[in-house]
Amino acid sequence: MFPLSSTTDTPTEAPRDTVREAELARVLEALGANVVDSLLKPNDDMWIRVTAETWRATAETLKSLGYTYFGFLSAIDWLPSPFGKSEDDASGPSEDRDSTIKQGYTGGDTRFQVFARLVQPFTTIGINIKVDVDDAVMAVDSWSSVFAGANWHEREAHEMFGIGFNGHPDLRNMYLPTDFEGHPMRKDFPLLARIVKPWPGIVDVEPLPGDDEEEGEAS
């Protein structure tokens, strides 16, 4: 899959962000070959993607580099929803719908990715870390021994996406009944409310103040 990072628009004068550039260089040096791809958006954020084997080691390394604040951990299913954006197709998944998986920043090879965010306390420097989840294994290592706060986030990701976390002390469901089948946040899990009754708000386009004559593009 072609990473989006190389296709993002290049501004006419590339803004520099020396702080984050130096920070990313420091992170990349410490992580070495663990990093598959990285991306820096000036004055915005940093992204790295690491290999699945080094997922926990990455957390440990980043913690020792000063990223001691745990932001969040979650997963993402890159499969385009077979039911379409509006989920209004009551007959089920459409055959001819485009099902090309298109990963976001720093690319990826698998349908599922786990991503997390760590922050350096007292600054705004944070880093988003992604990892591919192999479809055959459907599990990555748990971060809960490194960041205690990851415990609940991994439980949530486990029940919503069906991704296992090796070494997690207690992967019980947080929200759903124990005998619930399926993983609601997966894209191929239908939103039943939408199938029973189409969403009326999908056609609702609210007029904006001072923009009543033309459908102008943002300049």
Binding site: L4, T8, D44, D45, W47, T68, Y69, F70, G71, F72, S74, I76, D77, P80, S81, K85, S86, E87, K102, G104, Y105, F115, R117, P121, F122, T123, T124, G126, N128, F147, A148, G149, N151, W152, H153, N173, M174, Y175, L176, P184, M185, K187, L191, R194, W199, G201, I202, D204, V205, E206, P207, L208, P209, G210, D211, E215, G216, E217, A218, S219
Partner: protein, 390 residues
């Protein structure tokens, strides 16, 4: 003298042995105590299962999910402007504050920035939601400890703030006022003068609460030294907001983050407390309401002229990309990780709500505390159920 000393020592040993005998006789089996889901101390429907040894908790586990509404899934089938109506309901006491980080994330992806007047009014409404939210906490705190009066004061004075929010947005609890590129409307006539009066009232309210509660001996003895969270543990669990600052961490996203809001145009103190106990958390919140009223006062003086809406297309399509924006919400750091694939709606939204992280520390924190302290610790952590479950 030595004899007396020996006799004293013997008496002491005898007393110890007698105590031990009593303890053996009174040794109880472990007991499991269920609190909630319909308990007044849980602000909704949080259930806490605690295993007790006598009066002490040996193990506790909060069980959330009684109010899970699946907003992350729902955002995937809505358009970007429609999402604000959903995220309003996450922290329902400070609704406007929930909309702002999502809108900022969408604006970041689109490369749009709201006009400075809109940024200013956003910040005012944001702080008003904080005041409305936290003032209710301060009243509620009293109820948890058996003091009834503060909650009446809180409901009375919160009403003034809600009236302001209603005057500006049309909604008391769920404004749904923020738009990509600005705000739905300008402020109504007379808003500035009225807000100034209300801010004065709220400062009086803070004084009253401080007199009624924080100086109270019972309140102090039930909160001081109870539920202490050290700094490094707080960071590991991703605690945020007043819970983090009460552990001595001087970190406030309003001050430390450069986002298109008007906080950097004001002077305010970031309140911290070194103790990290229940008292510190409550005290920090009280002081933050005071600071918020001062922020609002400063912002009212400097509202710039101009439009409240940037030029955005009628049908909003957000370009491909990923963005993370978080703000210092009444409950702590609230952030949205928005993934767009160029459609009218988001592809994936990860909602990082403050209470989810704040409550995930509860199993660690409740270990070894006494049963009545569970209530004060939970109250001082201050969570909203909608903010845990989303």
């Amino acid at each position: 003298m030595t004899m007396l000393g020996d006799r004293q020592q013997l008496a002491y040993i005898a007393a110890q042995a007698a105590d031990a005998r009593v303890n053996v006789e009174l040794e109880t089996e472990g007991m499991t105590l269920n609190i909630g889901p319909q308990h007044p101390a849980t602000h909704g429907t949080l259930r806490i299962i605690a295993r007790l040894d006598g009066e002490q908790v040996v193990w506790a586990e909060p069980s959330a999910g009684y109010m899970h509404r699946g907003y992350e899934k729902l955002t995937e089938v809505r358009t970007f402007p429609q999402v604000t109506a959903l995220v309003n309901r996450i922290d329902w006491l400070g609704s406007f504050a929930n909309e702002v980080p999502f809108i900022l994330a969408a604006e970041k992806l689109m490369g749009v920035e709201a006009p400075s007047r809109a940024q200013h009014i956003r910040t005012i409404l944001f702080e008003l939601s904080r005041i409305a939210n936290v003032s209710l906490f301060l009243g509620d705190l009293g109820v948890q400890l058996g003091a009834i009066t503060p909650v009446f004061f809180a409901f009375r004075d919160r009403e003034y703030v809600l009236n302001l929010i209603e005057a500006a947005t049309g909604g008391r609890f769920h404004p749904n006022f923020d738009r990509i590129g600005g705000l739905k409307d300008d402020l109504p006539a007379g808003f500035v003068e009225e807000t100034r009066v209300v801010m004065k009232k709220l400062r009086t309210f803070c004084d009253q609460i401080e007199d009624l509660l924080f100086g109270n001996e019972i309140f102090q003895s039930r909160t001081r030294g109870i539920g202490v969270i050290p700094k490094d543990v707080a960071l590991q669990y991703g605690l945020s907001g007043a819970n983090l600052r009460a552990s001595g961490v001087d970190w406030d996203l309003r001050r430390d983050q450069d986002i298109p809001m008007a906080w950097n145009k004001t002077e305010f103190k970031v309140i911290t407390h070194p103790d990290g106990d229940s008292f510190a958390r409550c005290w920090v919140r009280l002081q933050e309401v005071r600071e918020s009223t001062k922020i609002v006062d400063q912002l009212l003086d400097t509202i710039p002229a101009g439009p409240v809406m940037a030029k955005v297309p009628k049908i909003i399509k957000v370009p491909e990309g990923e963005a993370w924006v978080s703000t210092e919400n009444p409950l702590g750091e609230m952030g949205y990780y928005v993934v767009s694939q160029g459609d009218q709606g988001p592809f994936r939204v990860k909602i990082r709500s403050a209470s989810f992280n704040n409550i995930s520390i509860v199993p660690w924190l409740l270990k070894g505390v006494y049963v009545p302290d569970i209530i004060t610790i939970l109250a001082s952590l201050y969570f909203i159920l909608g903010d845990i479950d989303r």
